[in-house]
């Protein structure tokens, strides 16, 4: 063992050796209660009503979705709330075969970034109101063939009585193939 440190720079272990030397198994449990803040509180209320709200920065012209009370680029206070369309375009998309903890999913999920339309506002190709969400109405092949890029999508809302003021009040963004 000493030789291994001096000559090789450490002692690699095989799986079974690793299991033998384990001395401590620790499983911390922690629950957090997180306040949603000024901007998100209003954002989640709007989702419950079936609306997507953002805040407009007169400095750079960007509409922040999800909204912020400040513009991180211009560092000014934002007071103008604007309503975005629940439609937009797919900027990029992937097919996930793994869960959040890397277990294999039974049914793969399509995930994407959606650039939302905000009527009356225009954005550069570098910065725009974009959000992460699930995409539905598309196949794995639509993603792999890149047909899905730039496709128009529309939010599929959860039934009104099941909305809780969460990003999941939108079930997914559904592709509107034409």
């Amino acid at each position: 063992m000493g030789l291994s440190i001096r000559i090789r720079g450490g002692t690699p272990l095989r799986d079974e050796e690793f299991r033998e030397i384990i001395k401590e198994i620790d499983s911390p449990r922690a629950r957090y209660n997180m306040a949603a803040g000024e901007a998100y509180s209003r954002f989640f209320e709007s989702l419950r009503r079936g609306e997507i709200l953002g805040t407009y920065c007169p400095g750079c012209g960007l509409v922040h979705i999800p909204p912020k009370i400040y513009c991180p680029y211009c560092f000014r206070y934002l007071t103008k709330w604007v309503r975005a369309s629940d439609e937009g375009r797919v900027v990029t998309a992937v097919v996930s075969y793994l869960s959040a903890t890397l277990e294999r999913l039974e049914k793969p999920e399509i995930i994407g970034i959606i650039r939302l339309d905000v009527p009356g506002y225009r954005f550069t190709s570098y910065r725009f109101p974009g959000i992460l969400h699930r995409i539905c109405g598309a196949s794995e092949d639509d993603v792999k063939s890149q047909r899905i890029f730039d496709a128009r999508v529309k939010a599929r809302w959860a039934p009104e009585d099941r909305r809780i003021g969460s990003i999941n009040d939108i079930e997914c963004f559904e592709v509107m193939w034409r």
């Binding site: 720079g9 620790d26 959040a100 903890t101 190709s125 993603v143 792999k144 999941n168």
Partner: protein, 393 residues
């Protein structure tokens, strides 16, 4: 050459050391840190009593399962009765550690600094070390969608493929090259002679990412000794100068921008080039270790660093320019894809590799051309930070 007039002392690297990078190591975080630190001191010809200050880095505490991890491993890093600071910028940490050490020396605060990065990911065993990354997201707008870390890279990779017309085959060539380079690296965990076909046929995780597109989970540590000009001259005939440092952040709201080009890195590298007096990076950088936790990231970062025109990195890779015997050798160490990815230690390994390359000490990994200027880079936080150092002999 140097344009920064506020620097009290030029800063040099005079020694480097590292441990093996492996999936599971017997050693504790302290022991790993000590092995790397001891080796760096040995190469510099110094003892711990010669060290004024210690700068260290490590990624999320949740991997080791010890909060206050910096304090926990600190004695292995030599941080006893000396000023010590631990820095952290996610995946960018490994290159940020020598940047923070540079402040210490350039400011005149310390003359001889021990620089250590350590990571022990194997402790986070259940269900997988990756699960630690469940807790890096926005808790309101992203986490409820149950994301895994591979999503964001897959989203960025696919955007890059779409925008630059790059194929999965083109990208797989990076994994093939780096894993092959690692065959000559005695510390490497994932060295292999594989083909593009092997990458494409490996387990599909999140399309377009397959298993062999990704670097492995690792344990390991790396260390440097960084000193003032006066001490560099005293200790060695072949110091390697840290002539440029750069680091910038973008916002963590990564879904609101064009992902095909890393602006966070363009800004960081321009800061470093300016400091090093480099006007034409593509001509003046002889060898580089851009951050390659995923194969497409090497291409993406080569473009962000301005070493290759936008969307041209795949073509250059195909033509063999980035091979160890090519005109611009990239990741001669084997990179994260080949050597392994103990997060902070992996970034510092890249700096150590450029140090060894510039001194002609890289053994079988030594690049064919003569090299005087090299660059190492890392990237991290939530698609936010670029960290860059430029070294010269």
């Amino acid at each position: 050459m140097k344009t920064n007039i506020y620097v009290k002392s030029r800063v040099a690297i005079v020694g480097a050391g590292m441990t093996l990078f492996r999936r599971r190591m017997l050693e504790t975080p302290q022991e790993l840190a000590w092995i790397a630190a001891r080796r760096a001191l040995d190469q510099a010809g110094l003892e711990l009593r010669d060290i004024d200050c210690v700068v260290s880095g490590s990624a999320p505490d949740a991997f080791d399962g010890v909060h206050l991890k910096g304090e926990y491993y600190s004695e292995g890093a030599g941080a006893i009765r000396k000023p010590h600071v631990r820095v952290f910028v996610g995946g960018g940490t490994g290159v940020f550690v020598p940047i923070a050490a540079w402040w210490h020396v350039a400011s005149g605060l310390c003359r001889r600094v021990l620089v250590v990065a350590e990571e022990k990911m194997s402790s986070a065993a259940d269900p997988h070390p990756q699960a630690v990354f469940r807790h890096i997201w926005d808790p309101f707008t992203e986490k409820p969608l149950n994301p895994n870390l591979i999503w964001i890279f897959a989203l960025e990779m696919h955007r890059y493929m779409h925008k630059c017309s790059v194929s999965k085959e083109d990208i797989a060539l990076v994994a093939v090259k780096n894993k092959r380079n690692a065959l000559d690296n005695p510390y490497a965990q994932a060295a292999a002679n594989i083909t593009v076909e092997d990458v494409l046929k490996s387990e599909l995780l999140v399309y377009p990412v397959n298993r062999l597109d990704i670097s492995p989970v690792s344990d390991g540590a790396a260390a440097l000794v960084m000193v003032s000009e006066e001490w560099a001259r005293r200790l060695t005939d072949t110091p390697v100068w840290v002539d440029g440092i750069g680091y910038t952040l973008d916002t963590s709201y990564w879904t609101n921008r064009e992902l095909s080009f890393p602006v966070y890195l363009k800004n960081a590298s321009e800061m470093a080039y300016r400091m090093a007096g480099i006007d034409r990076p593509a001509k003046e950088i002889d060898v580089a270790e851009p951050y390659d936790p995923f194969d497409y990231k090497e291409l993406h970062h080569l473009e962000g660093l301005g070493l290759v025109p936008r969307c041209k990195a795949a073509e250059m890779t195909r033509e063999g320019v980035t091979q160890r015997d090519g005109d611009l050798p990239i990741c001669p160490s084997g990179g994260l894809l080949g050597v392994g990815n103990p997060i902070a230690a992996a970034g510092l390994m890249k700096v150590a590799e450029i140090f060894w390359q510039l001194r002609g000490e890289a053994g079988r990994r030594q690049v064919k051309k003569s090299v005087t200027t090299g660059l190492a880079q890392a990237w991290g936080d939530l698609m936010q930070v670029g960290t860059v150092v430029i070294l010269r002999r």
